[in-house]
Symmetry: D2
Subunit: 425 residues, 4 copies
Amino acid sequence: MTAAMRFVSLSILAPAILAAADIDGSWHLALIRFNERFSSARVVLKADSNKLTGTLNELKLAGTIEGNHIRLTMTRPNGSELGVLEGDLDGDRIGGTVKQGTEETRFEGRRAPAAPAKPTTHSFAPTAFHRVFSSAIAPALRIHSGDSVRTTSVDAGGTDASGVRRSLGGNPLTGPFFVEGAMPGDTLKVEFHKVRLNRPSAGSGDRIVPNALTPGYHRNAKYDDKFDSSWKLDLSASTARLAKPTERLKNFQVSLQPMVGCVGVAPPGNQSFRSGHLGPWGGNMDYNGLREGVTVYLPVYHEGALLFVGDGHALQGDGELNGDALETSMDLEFTVTLQPGASTQAPRMENAEYLMASGIANSLPEALQQATSELARWIERDYRLSPNESGIVLGTSIRYDIAEIVPQVQIVAKVRKDVLATIGK
Amino acid sequence: MTAAMRFVSLSILAPAILAAADIDGSWHLALIRFNERFSSARVVLKADSNKLTGTLNELKLAGTIEGNHIRLTMTRPNGSELGVLEGDLDGDRIGGTVKQGTEETRFEGRRAPAAPAKPTTHSFAPTAFHRVFSSAIAPALRIHSGDSVRTTSVDAGGTDASGVRRSLGGNPLTGPFFVEGAMPGDTLKVEFHKVRLNRPSAGSGDRIVPNALTPGYHRNAKYDDKFDSSWKLDLSASTARLAKPTERLKNFQVSLQPMVGCVGVAPPGNQSFRSGHLGPWGGNMDYNGLREGVTVYLPVYHEGALLFVGDGHALQGDGELNGDALETSMDLEFTVTLQPGASTQAPRMENAEYLMASGIANSLPEALQQATSELARWIERDYRLSPNESGIVLGTSIRYDIAEIVPQVQIVAKVRKDVLATIGK
Amino acid sequence: MTAAMRFVSLSILAPAILAAADIDGSWHLALIRFNERFSSARVVLKADSNKLTGTLNELKLAGTIEGNHIRLTMTRPNGSELGVLEGDLDGDRIGGTVKQGTEETRFEGRRAPAAPAKPTTHSFAPTAFHRVFSSAIAPALRIHSGDSVRTTSVDAGGTDASGVRRSLGGNPLTGPFFVEGAMPGDTLKVEFHKVRLNRPSAGSGDRIVPNALTPGYHRNAKYDDKFDSSWKLDLSASTARLAKPTERLKNFQVSLQPMVGCVGVAPPGNQSFRSGHLGPWGGNMDYNGLREGVTVYLPVYHEGALLFVGDGHALQGDGELNGDALETSMDLEFTVTLQPGASTQAPRMENAEYLMASGIANSLPEALQQATSELARWIERDYRLSPNESGIVLGTSIRYDIAEIVPQVQIVAKVRKDVLATIGK
Amino acid sequence: MTAAMRFVSLSILAPAILAAADIDGSWHLALIRFNERFSSARVVLKADSNKLTGTLNELKLAGTIEGNHIRLTMTRPNGSELGVLEGDLDGDRIGGTVKQGTEETRFEGRRAPAAPAKPTTHSFAPTAFHRVFSSAIAPALRIHSGDSVRTTSVDAGGTDASGVRRSLGGNPLTGPFFVEGAMPGDTLKVEFHKVRLNRPSAGSGDRIVPNALTPGYHRNAKYDDKFDSSWKLDLSASTARLAKPTERLKNFQVSLQPMVGCVGVAPPGNQSFRSGHLGPWGGNMDYNGLREGVTVYLPVYHEGALLFVGDGHALQGDGELNGDALETSMDLEFTVTLQPGASTQAPRMENAEYLMASGIANSLPEALQQATSELARWIERDYRLSPNESGIVLGTSIRYDIAEIVPQVQIVAKVRKDVLATIGK
C-alpha cells in the first residue's frame, strides 16, 4: 500500500465538516519521485468555505476543498499555469500528487511545527563529530527560530579543550542543529555572540600552500621537515608564540583574533562534502573576519537546514596561507533566526562596520565576480539602487578580503555601513 | 668611421701616464650589437699600477691597463670565466668590445656622473604629457639621487587643476625624470611626501567593469547610458558628492583618500606600454594604498630609469572597479633615491604600518603567487628567515589587497611592521 | 562486545597448529577509529615457521605468529619504524590493533577473495539508477578482475532506450559494480568494447554555457526560450538532425560520435558528489574522446572500487559547450581489470593512437598543469625518461583537448604512441 | 606656419571650377590633437554640383563644397549628429578641422592611393630585423592589396638559412610591409602559400615551461642544465632528430610540420610590444595550425597596417610547451588582400577544413571566452544564425586548440567547414 492509498482510505472516515478550519496555515511537503525524496516545499493554505487559496514556495495555488480532498491549480509568478496539486488531509498529515503535463510527483507532508512562545538558550555538549557537511547526518539537536546555542568545537585535528582527542582529523564539526520550520529557499541568520578560546595551545602548518607561490619560489625553497609549529597561547594577554621557536623566531609574537573556520548547512541534495570544503552552503569558509559579533546568513536547502559549526582559529592571515591557521578548540554561542523565503545565493555576513558578501567559487576570478555581483545585488535590493548607482557606491567604497584559497576560493566583498547610511534605506 | 675607430685613433694622442689615475671609479657602458644599443652596464674599476680590477654588474673583472688600453677577463659569480673585455680610454669616454666565445658586443661609455654635494628640490611645471611608459621619450628633467621634485599631474582625461585640457586622455603622465647614475639592476626609491588634491572636481565611471561581474548579473543589469558621474570635491571637508546626483544618491557622500594611480619607470628594452598598463616596471598600479607617506621601490631597466607619475585619484575602491576612480589633477612632491644594485623583481612599497609587495600579473591567481612569493623573499632576506619561518610569519599575519583588476591584475601582499619588529633584523 | 573481543574469544578455540599455513596470502583490513571505518588496507603475509613477514600497502611488516596471535613491526619505505600491528586470526577473519606512538587504530579484516579460474561476462539490466558518486551506495553487481559487463545506461534525464522515464534527471548512473579484491591504492582498468546508441532520439541544450562567453556576448545575445533542441538520430547513417529545426537549420546535419559521459569510482571517504561532478575519481568527464575502443584507468579509494557508468552522448563538441550534448541512452560493454598497487593520481586513458592523461581541476590553468604533469610523469616512468627528455618529447608532440569546462574543468594531454614507439620502452 | 594655414593660403590659388570633379573618391586623414597624430580615418566623398555627401569611417557626411572649401555635418549610424568637419582642398591634399562640441581636432590628409591594374609578386630579402611590433618602425616594403611577397625569416635567435647571425634574439621579424590603402578598421587577409624550411638545423628548449606544471612536479624535477637540445632536420624525409641525443632518445624521431610563429600588424597607438608578445593584433601567435595553406585575417590599426612575419617552427606541440619550438629559418610566400571596413576583433584563420577564431588574452579562461564568442559571432554573421542556432552548431561541433600559453594565452576555437556547409550561407 502506498502512502497515497493510505491517505485516500483514511480520508473516507474523517468528518468533512472540520476540514475547512483545520487546513489553514503552513504545511511542509516532501516531494517524491522514483522512490527518492528529492526536495521539500512549504505550502501555505487558507480556506474560505470550500474555496482554497495559498502558495507553494513561489507558486500561487487556487482551488477547492471537498471533505478532506483538496485540488489546487498551480500558477507561476508570471501568471502561467504550471499544473495541478491534488491530495488528502489526515489530521496534521497530508499526501497526494502534483501533476505537470505527463509528469507526476508524489508528496507527503505534515503541518509546520508551531514556534514556542519564547526562545530558549540550549547548552549543547557534543558527543560525536562529523567530517562531512551532509543532510545524511541525523540532527544532534533540534532548535527553533530565535533560539541560542552554547556549545564547543574541537580543533581541526579532533582535540578538545582538555587536550583529549575526540575525533579523526579534518575539521570535525559540532552539530548538526535542526532548525524547526526551516525549508529550502529560506535563509538562516546566525549571530555569533561568543567566539572564545578555551585552551592555551594551538597547532599550525609552517609552509605556504603551493598554489600561493610561484614556480620559482618552489624550485628554490629548502624546507625543514622537522620544524615545530606548535603554539603557546596566552589567553589573558591575547597573544601567541611558537612553543618551541627557532632562534630567529624566539621573540616572534602575534596578537590573537579568534575566528570560526567552519559554518555551514547541509548542501543541496544527497551530496556530502568533506568539512574542508566550502560552497554556497558555507562550510570551511576560513574567513578571518568571521569573529565574535558577526552575523552570517546562509541559504537553506533541506528541511531543518542542518547547521554545522567548527574549526576554530586563534589567528589566521588572509587566504589561510598555511592551509590551516592557529588551530584550536573553541567555546561558541550563537542565535539562529529563520528568514522564510528570503533566499540568498551564497553566504552573506554583517558586523557593526560592514556588509559583506561571500563569493565562493573554484578560482579567484570567479570568486571575485560572485562576491561583487552579490554585494551589488544586495545593496540594489536593500537600498533601491540601479546598477549605475550601485556602480557608483561600490566603485568608490568596495573592499575585498581574500579569505580562503584552498580547496575552493572565497573572496569577501564588503562596504562600510556608514557609507551606505548616507543613502538611507 | 665607427665609434670604436674613433676611440682607437684618439687614444694614440692621449698621455698614457695619466690613465692609471684617471680610470678609477664608475663607468656607464652602452652595449651594442647589430646596430642596436640593447642594454647598459655599470663598470667599476680600480687601477694599481698597470693591474686593473673591478666589476661589470655582477661580473668580476681582472686584467691590465697599458697606456689607454684596457684588457679585462670577466668572471661569473660562480667563478667560471665568461669572456674578455677590451677597450680604450679617451678622457671621460671609453669604448671597446666584449668577446664571449665567437660573439662580440661593442660598447661605448662614459664616466658616471658625480653626485652633487647636497640634494636639490626641483619645481617642475610639465608642458607635455605622455601616454606611454617608454624609454623612447626624452627626459623632461634630469635629477640626482636624493633630489626632490614638486610637480603636478593632469587627470586621466588630460585636464589640469585650472580645468584646462592639456593632453589627449588615457592617463597622461608627468615626466619622465632622468635619475643621474641609475643603471639597469638598480632600484629606485620614491618617497611620496605630498599627494594633494588641487581642484574641486573629479570624474568617474558609473558601472562595474565587466570582468568583476557574473554572466547572470550582466544579463539582467539595465544601465542608464546618460547617468552623470561627475563629482564635486569639498577639499576642506575632504568629502565628495555627485555633482548632479540621482534622487536616491542625492545625499550620498564619501570621504576622500587621495592616491597616485600611475608610478612607473621606462619598461625593459624598446617596449612602449600605454599609460593604462601595469607591469614589473610599475605603471598604472591604481592601488588605493599608494597615498601620501608611501615609499615605492621600482626596478631600473634603462640608464636614468625614466620615472613617470600621474593619474591622481581623489578616492578609489579596491580593484578600481569602475575601470577608473574619482579622476582628478594633483599636486605631488616626492624624493628619489637610488639604491645601486639592489634589484627588486617588481614594485615594493612601504608606509609607517606595512611592508607591501606588489604582484602584477595577467590574472588574479598569478598576481597572488607573485605578491606572496615576493613578500616571502623580502622578509627572508631582510629578517634572515628560512621558508618555514617566513611561512609562520605570513601564515599568521599576511594581508592581501586587490589593487587593480584591469587590464592587468595587481594584488598587494603586506605584513605589519610591528609584527616583524618582534623578530628583529 | 566489540569486534575485537569477539576475535579474541574465538581465537581461543582455533587450532594453533594450522595457523602458519593458513595465514599466507592476501588480507583486506578495514581501519577504524572513533567508530568510523575510515580506510582500508591490503596486507600480504608469509609465514616461515613462527616468523612472519609481509606488507601493509607500502609498509613492510616483520614479526611473529604465536598460535593465532600475530605481532608485526611496520617499517616505512625509507626504513624508519612506524609502529606495531597486533592481532588475532579466526579462520578467514582477522582483527586487532595498529599502534603508532600514543595513537591506536582498530582493524577488522578478512582473507582476500580468490579470483575465479576464468573471467565471466555479466549481462546486467539496471533496475535502479544513482545520481551521486558515493561509497554509500550498495553494489548493484559484484564482479572479479577480468570480468566483462554488458549493460545499458539511461540518458541524462533518466529515460531509457524505450523512451521510458526511469529516474530523476542529472546523469542517473548504472552500477555501482563492486570489483572483488580492489583496494585503495590500486588502479582499475576499464576497456570499453562497445559504446553503442540504442534509440533514434536525443536531447540537448541550445545555448553556450555562460562561462564560455565574454561579457560583451552576454549583453548582446537575444535568446529564444522556446527553441526546440530535440534531435532525430539516424543510427544506420550515423547522423543527427534537429527534430523540429528552425528555417536556417532545416538542413543542418552532423555525424554521430558516440561517447560515454560518466565513468567513475566512489570518491574518497564518505563524500558524495552529484553525478554532474568530476574529480580525480573520474565522474562526469564528458570527454568526446572517450569512445568505443578507449581504455580508462581510475584510482581506487574504497574496497571494491564501486564503478559507475552512464550519461551517453551521441555527439559532443569540445568542452561540452551547451552544458550537455546529444543526450541519449546507450548499450555498453566493458572489461574491468585490477592493477594492484599501481596508483594513478587521476584518470588516464589510452586508445590505439594516443596515451592520454586527464587533468581535472577547478580551473583551466590548473587542469592544464595537472594534465601536463601527469602525462610527463607517465612517460618518464614507462619510458625511463628524465625531465629534460620528457620535455623534448612533449614539447614537440603534446596535444591538448579541452574536454569539459563546467562544473569542474577537464583538459586531456595526449601524445601519439607512434612517436613514443621511436624511443622504445 | 601650421599645416592648416598652408592649405588655406594655397587654396586661394586653386581654380574652384575643378573642385567638384576632383573631390570624388577616397581620402586618408590623419587626426591631430595636442601635437599628436593619434589616429587615421578614411573619408569617401561624392560631389553633386556644390552638394557634397560621403562617409568618415562609420559616420555619414553631408554638406557643401564652395570652391576648395568643404563643410560637412557628421551623423552617427543611429542618426544623431556628432559635429562638423570643415576643410580645404589643395589638389591631392586636404586639411581642416573636426569640431565636436567644444573639442577641435585637426586633420591632414591626402587622396587614397590608386591600386595598380594587376598584382605584383615582390621578392624581398630582409636586411634588418625588428624585435618589436610597433608602428614606429619604417616600412621595409610598400605593397598593394592583392600583391604577394616572397621572403625569408631568421630563426628566433636571429640566425638565417646560411647559419649567419643577423640580429639579436627574441623572434627578430621580417618587415614591416606597408599595405597601400589600409586604414584603421579594415581587415588584412594574409594567405600563406609557402611555409618552407630552408636549412637542416633547429634549436629548442628542453624543459616544460613552469606555468604548465604543478608545484609538485616542480619540487621533484631534477633538470640537467647541460642537456643539448639542438636538432638535425632531414628536409627530404621531413623528420627531425636530436643532433646529440641522450642514450634514451638516440632513436627518437618526429615528423616535421612547419609553421609560422609570428604574424602581426603594428598594435594600436604608439605601443611597442616585444616580438614575443601576442594580442588582438596577432604577434607571436605560435599556433601549430598556422601552416602552409592557412589564411590569416588581422585587424588594421594604422595607415598601411604594417605587417610583420617571422619565428618559423619546424615542429611544435600544443601550447609551445618549451617556451619555444624547433626554431629555424624559413622561406615564406604570402598574398595580402585588403578588406576595407570589415573589422575583426582579433585574428581569425581559415584553411581547407576549418574556420578558426583566435582568443588571445591574459589567461586560459579569458582566451576560451574570446575564442568561443568570436567564432559564434562569425558564424552568426556569415550564416545568419541566432544565438540559439550558433549554440546548436558549436555545441555539437566546436574544437579547441590550446595554441600558446606564455606570455599571453591563445586558444583557437574552430568548426569544420563541411558541417557549416549543411547550413548554407
